[in-house]
Amino acid sequence: MEALNLLMQGFSVLMTWKIMALMLVGLLLGVFVGVLPGLGGPNGVAILLPLTFTMDPTSAIVMLSCIYWGALFGGAITSILFNIPGEAWSVATTFDGYPMAQQGKAAEALTAAFTSSFIGSLVAVVLITFLAPMISSFALKFGPPEFFAVYLLTFCSFVGLGREDKHKTLISMALGLLLAAVGMDTVSGSLRMTFGTEVLMRGVNFLVAVIGLFGISEILLTMEERLALRGHSARIGLSTVLKVWRDLPKYWATLLRSSVIGCWLGITPGGAIAASFMGYNMAKRFSKDPSSFGKGRIEGVFAPETAAHASGTSALLPMLALGIPGSGTAAILLGGLMVWGLNPGPLLFVEHKDFVWGLIASMYLGNVVGLVIVLTTVPLFASILRVPFAAVAPMILVSCAIGAYAIQNAMFDVWLMLGFGVVGYVFKKIGIPLAPFTLALVLGNRSEDAFRLSMIGAGGDMRVFWSNGLVGTLTTLALVLLFWPLIGRLASAVRGPQKPLRA
């Protein structure tokens, strides 16, 4: 097994004191940002990214991905103890997690949540270990037309399959692609959309936009809400952990089902949010006693948490193998890769073996260490919520400003970040999704390059996108997904009126 050998090599890369320490710091910071109101996975990763600018890529990605795992774990703490989902994907965890805490079973609920997160991530990491190298070696044969077709597929599936209003997704995506094109045009070397200003020549930096859109806007949104909260504190004893783990095999079907749902929705841009709800609903539907869900059933914690984490983790698969992020956070990690001077894409597996396998090995190790950390430190992190938001908010704002400045040492970027903060705030409130924007901004230049290189190669002939079986299939699939809602409506019109399916 070549993958196993390489994985072992990856572990050996990790076994230095420095990387282990960074891992620990990353996990603790991650749980911290996961627990804090108004901060979460993507925001935390975006704000803390500047810390890693001067590190070597392997240390940097290990620390950042550990922040991500930590944030995933941390989200469950507030959902269960306070009925406040730290993240949209922990909403489903509150359905049964909070009732359990009210019944005095907070420790069981937390153990269940952490354990199932761990299992979900583990399944996804195993999938990455074996599938990512295969996909990337397959993708090595890709030329510009194939790459453009894959990018097109990603964009189209967002528009066609997203649950938001289509025009809102389109606005978000077109805006992202346009802003990505501001500044130097990489093919012709001339300037675009700079309006004669010097500051726009560098273009709109992806990370500046992300810090504003996710960090600043989240603070504004949080301030609008009632910040008073009341919840339970909990301490997890070893006996509780063992008790939950002994019962674990009983729920194998739920765990397996949720893992599969999560992995699938993570690789395709369905996302962790959809995965957690789907995991929960499926568990309810397959249960012998569906009415007991929502009243503190442990399966109602297992199902969404497993799915959310399987999805959050497997979103890294397309990022590693193809350079296409499957989620907002994966997009930010991809932005990080570029800052560290790596070129995302299938060549990563060939040119930066240490980096890739170090990252994959750190996913295993980070999840094990993370599980131990959260199980032992819950009381500590729950008490962070006692810190008034008036003290937390300015610190987060300062961290955002430092992060935005550090990327290019430019004061203009800090102002730009503020602007994106306001835009993000308004967009979130009127329902324009931010994920397509993020994805478009990070992939914009690369997809345009792929398009123009294929055009140059083919002498301006669009038929190049149907020139062989692979690229033709990808392009056609992309168009089908783009018009999926229309196709669905046409199909049902042809079949005639039907009784609506019962959900």
């Binding site: 590190m55 389109l170 077109a174 001339s190 675009r192 003290a391 300062v398 430092i402 550090a406």
Partner: protein
């Protein structure tokens, strides 16, 4: 009812009142946003049309893709704008009539946004560390109504930690002002 040991209770002294009058509905904010987006699409579309949106012998010119993206952006925004006048589905109409923000909420948002604006402006004159010290201390004091000594200690420790982490440990150089110059760092 007094909270028992197993409970964590956090009060929010300045919480926005539930019955505060609405300042704007989603409908009006969406209209403003769509008009702004159409204007942006026109501006960018014009700029790209000027820089060449045609098809040269070797494929698209540099303005080609951005020009058509501006068309998509403008078209989608116009579609949205039209939708705020003729809402087709009841669910869409309901979401348009929902309150965007109440007066009390706007007050709270400005309470955090205006200080941030001042902080960024101050960073240019005072450097980021002094500005952040001021932001944290004054925000905690005046928005959070926390005791002075706690505000001062917290802000000093925070600015200090930030300095050590970024400037010393990770070598990320931040903007500095006259006070750092005085201290010789």
């Amino acid at each position: 009812m007094s909270p028992s040991d197993s409970e964590i209770v956090v009060e929010d002294p300045g919480e926005p009142a539930e019955d505060s009058p609405a300042l704007a509905t989603n409908r009006s904010v969406e209209r403003v946003a769509y008009v702004a987006l159409v204007a942006l699409a026109l501006l960018l579309g014009y700029d790209n049309w000027k820089s060449g949106m045609g098809w040269a012998s070797d494929g698209p010119q540099r303005g080609y893709l951005p020009f058509y993206l501006s068309l998509i952006l403008g078209g989608a925004a116009l579609w949205g704008l039209a939708g705020t006048f003729v809402a087709r589905r009841p669910a869409a109409a309901r979401s348009l009539d929902r309150t965007f923000i109440t007066r009390a909420q706007l007050r709270r948002v400005l309470q955090v946004f205006l200080p941030t604006l001042l902080f960024v402006a101050a960073t240019q004159w005072l450097g980021i560390y002094v500005a952040s010290l001021l932001l944290v201390a004054l925000f905690m004091r005046f928005i959070g109504r926390i005791a002075w000594w706690k505000c001062l200690v917290t802000s000093l420790v925070f600015a200090g930690v930030m300095f050590v982490v970024f400037d010393v440990a990770f070598d990320v150089i931040m903007p500095k002002g006259p006070i750092e110059a005085l201290l010789g760092v």
